[in-house]
Symmetry: C2
Subunit: 222 residues, 2 copies
DNA sequence: GATTCCAAAATTATAGATAATTTTGCGAGT
DNA sequence: ACTCGCAAAATTATCTATAATTTTGGAATC
């Protein structure tokens, strides 16, 4: 019906649904009903089903035969799992990217770090943070590895948004600057070590809720 | 029509096609035509399209919008990429699995190693090899990580089969035994180091072709 | 002889329709 | 009041049909 710009329908649907799942707009465990999604996008359920397959492959949805597909649930265990996988894969990517990093790329990464420090909300911070991480690993030129890292970032972002639902305070990201400093000095190994620790850093932090009390949430950085 | 045993149709189709792609039965770059696949499985193209989405997510097929899907091509660069990803992720998995490995599991892994050494063909060797690798990492209990490793193993197997198409000679796998020895001694770090080197070991080896000449192929071990 | 163009055939992508299964709501029985 | 079971509604999964796009083959042209 509407004129698309060469982006295939299942891709578009899965991308929009992925954004909603990541941002927490759709709750974990919520059912994704193909007909409802179809009418919303003015499509039929065939492309919707294909979109569901994509979401499942990304780990954002789970499908039970004959019983439909639900938004994937997640717990602290999986948060840790994703963090460790990110650490392993991003370090690998950085080691290969290191030799090909130009001064211009590092400047761009520093700009992303600044943007993160000045973010007004989690959403903006997450976007800047992801830009930083992607910039320093992209030159590895390993498409499969980069795609895997992207999927893990999506999962990370999901956890992040679920933790800091409402309150947010910006803070300067010392790890990012330390990584950049090491890379500028040509010390890729040193940068990789900091990156691994940075990504895996998962702690616990009391957060003021809207009601005025405090609750303990896990904190994700990087 | 036919009675299904609770395995969903797209899953079944994608699994069969994946086997063919991995074994080299379908050549890289070959077109996968939905109607042809559909009639072969006695189905329509709707479940076939969903199967194609799965294959694409696994990295076994690539889809160009409006132009159909083809079996993914691969080159030496990607072989190396997959090997390095495997090394990074399997080491991570082994580190977590280490403390939970029981004597019985290690015995089973040793049995898999023996089976590999006595394999009559590549196919059998690959199956035993995969069993070994899966056995020693499974106790990490990280489902997402294990799924990622499985996909990488599928890619590895593909490369393996394309290299050793016809000739094959069994040989004893010293690395597997060294890994087991280290694990039995409780030296998980040592085992992880050997595993990383083992998986990444990619060399070059002259292979006799059916025509009688020799050509240079890459060799994969692990 | 090679190239370009056009029409026919094949193929992809989506829509609409149908069968089968699961969920839901309500009433009967305890 | 609670549970069990059955019937109605909703939903999934698949098939058939249709529109749109790409590929293919051949004839006309340079």
């Amino acid at each position: 019906m509407a004129k698309e710009k060469s982006e295939t329908l299942p891709v578009r649907i899965s991308r929009v649904l992925a954004e909603r799942i990541i941002s927490g707009q759709i709750e974990p465990g919520a059912r994704l009903r193909q007909d409802h999604v179809a009418v919303e996008f003015g499509a039929s359920h065939v492309p919707v089903r294909e979109a569901f397959q994509r979401l499942e492959a990304q780990g954002l949805a789970v499908s039970e035969p004959r019983r439909g597909v639900r938004v994937a649930a997640f717990d602290l265990r999986e948060v840790r799992e994703v963090a460790e996988m990110r650490a392993a894969l991003e370090v690998l990517a950085l080691r290969h990217a290191g030799p090909h990093l130009t001064r211009a790329m590092l400047d761009e990464a520093e700009e992303a770090t600044r943007a993160g420090d000045n973010s007004p909300d989690v959403r903006a911070w997450e976007e800047a943070n992801r830009r930083f991480h992607r910039l320093i690993v992209t030159p590895c030129a390993m498409p499969r590895l980069l795609a895997a890292i992207d999927d893990l970032h999506a999962a990370s972002a999901r956890f992040l948004f679920s933790a800091w639902r409402s309150d947010w305070e910006a803070r300067t990201d010392h790890d990012h600057r330390a990584i950049l400093a090491a890379l500028r000095a040509g010390q890729v190994d040193e940068a990789a070590i900091i990156l691994a620790r940075h990504v895996q850093w998962i702690g616990s932090k009391p957060v003021r809720t809207a009601a005025g009390g405090t609750r303990d949430v896990f904190a994700i950085q990087g």
